[in-house]
Amino acid sequence: MPAIPTPSEFVTPGAGLLVLALIVPVVGILAAIVAGRRHVERTALATIALGAVVMIAIAWQMRQSGRALVYWLGAWAPPLGVTLRADAASVVMLLVTVVVVAGIAVYARADFRTPDELSEARRPYVFWIMLLAVWCGLNAVFVASDLFTLYVALELLTFAAMPLVCLDGRAETLQAALRYLLFALAGSVLYLLGAVLVFGAYGTLDITQLGRVSDAQPATIVACVLMTTGLLAKTALFPLHLWLPPAHGGAPPAASAVLSALVVKGSFFIVIRIWFDALPTVPGYLAAQVLAGLGASAILFGSVIALRQQRLKLLIAYSTLAQIGYLFLMFPLAFDADVGGFVHGDALTGGLLQAMSHATAKAAMFMAAGLIYTTLGHDRLGEMAGVARLVPLSVLAFAVGGVALMGVLPSGAYLAKKLLLDAAEGSGQWWWAVTLQAGGFLTTSYVLLVIALTLGKPAAPLVARARIARSQEVAALALAICSFGLALAALGPLPGKLISNPLAPGALLSSAWLIGGGALLALAISRELPRLAFVDAFVAAARPLRRTLGGAGEVFVQIDQWLRRWPIAGLSMLALLLLFGVSIVAGR
């Protein structure tokens, strides 16, 4: 009988805090369900505040001890028991998550207040409980070191996300929620099947133990393929994104922020856990190229289609599609040929930084879009002119979040890009360097487009249809600013060579180059154009170019619609399963 792996790590001091990270939201959920009425909001806010203290304590503990925190639940050692384990990646994700949750909570207070004439209302009750639940599921994902516990956490996340999608109960969002639920459930079943195959091969589900014993045998290859594809379906990586645009574009803004900024990061983080920690030597170089290739397609499709949108929220939803693709570019760059596997290093740090920046920035952008919507009563891009003067803070929040995503100094995304570019150069994979640069231009193009649209001169003076709370604008802006500072703070001291003076001539030039290129792309492809004098001049001069590129953009839109049909998306999932299988087998 093969020896059962013995525990390699023992409980570390202060690791009890990880239990708190897990149970504080659970206590909040239970209390909110019972208390109901007006207490739901208060319970949620108090829980989040308490949780923030716990996360800070965890980060402090981690910095004190300088190594991963490990906790055996029930004092049972793995493989029999379940281990909680937090490494640097978990801790920064925990911190960023609680910040985003808190920002969304402050913002949502105005939208999800129980009306005075009712003792309890559906929307606040559901929203606050599900916000806590999403947070709970994510914390579990970040600290659980067990493949099956991760499955339960994933399901928790799905069940919490689905009501957020269809909170307003329109047929369109109910349909989006059903698509999301069914596709996500299929994804989790595939993940579960992979997990059981791993158990069948090694007799343990503990990620740390698996990292030491796992090897490429038929069961683990199939398991890796199943788990990866299942998780990609839940992350909505192109071409498995059938549910993302309607779900993220149709939900109320605070809910969209939760879905776009947080929920997709859960399954993404588990992909990292599997490729880097549980089965590091299984997937191999070729499969990583395939994965990043999907990411590159996501960037291209997501960005181009974002430029062709007529509604702001859908534009942001497609931007999420593109940014999810960006997250997967780091996989081939983190492959170490000497080890034959994926190693923690600069590439992974870059990928996580990107995920964190996206979390804060995207939450801020959706929140800003919600404020614009409330003010105008619509979010049609063609009628955005003058909005910057009407709600300057909201537009500023959108702009700051967008600029952070573009990767201009000194944002987290800039650092992420720099780390990834260095890794691409170091490993000789120039094609990913090109993709990273191109992705920067594409991101810049749609961010600039929205900013320019709001700056235009309105045909008729704009009137605000509704007043928005100042606290909401501040929350959005604060989160946007966080995407500059937070990731840096979370990472602690950085090597000096990464940070340069943003106003130095070289840095300014590269920013200008990025902005110029992005602007050109936006002018060439976008559907809506800002009413600005130089734009009109450009359009008059470059009509054929716009016709060609705009037509190409429409082709992308058509392909996207085709890919998002259910049977096609299902077939894509099966095709990906087979493709990953072939690329792993062929890669060795």
Binding site: G169, R170, Q175, L182, L197, F199
Partner: protein
């Protein structure tokens, strides 16, 4: 042919059948049914792996067996939630189809109204 070979192949085939149904059936209720067939196959594979680990007088490794029970309960919750969602979609839209374009749904299309405090009821 051993017991685990037989039931293992059966589980794999059920997974294949479930996946096929999930993809090609146009009615969501049939998709949910297919999802349950798929789940049955996955759990059966759990059972086979548990059975392979029979030792110490246990008829199977108790850990994967316990995981199946947890999995069955989660799977029931998933089914109940999807059915409830499906019934609600049907009540609001008169159809439960996932293939129908959102713009053709009764209250869908351009009149998207995400921030209203009181959404309309069907």
């Amino acid at each position: 042919m051993t017991e685990t070979t037989l039931f293992g192949s059966c589980g794999a085939l059920l997974v294949g059948l479930g996946l096929y149904g999930l993809i090609v059936h146009p009615q969501p209720l049939r998709k949910i049914l297919s999802f349950n067939v798929l789940g049955g196959g996955v759990f059966l594979l759990f059972g086979v792996i548990a059975r392979r680990g029979a030792a110490m007088g246990f008829g199977g490794d108790p850990v994967p067996q316990a995981l199946v029970i947890t999995g069955l309960v989660v799977s029931f919750a998933a089914t109940a939630l999807s059915v409830a969602l499906l019934l609600r979609l049907h009540a609001v839209a008169g159809t439960a189809s996932l293939s129908m374009p959102a713009s053709d749904l009764p209250s869908g299309g351009a009149s998207a109204d995400a921030t209203t405090k009181t959404p309309r009821d069907a």
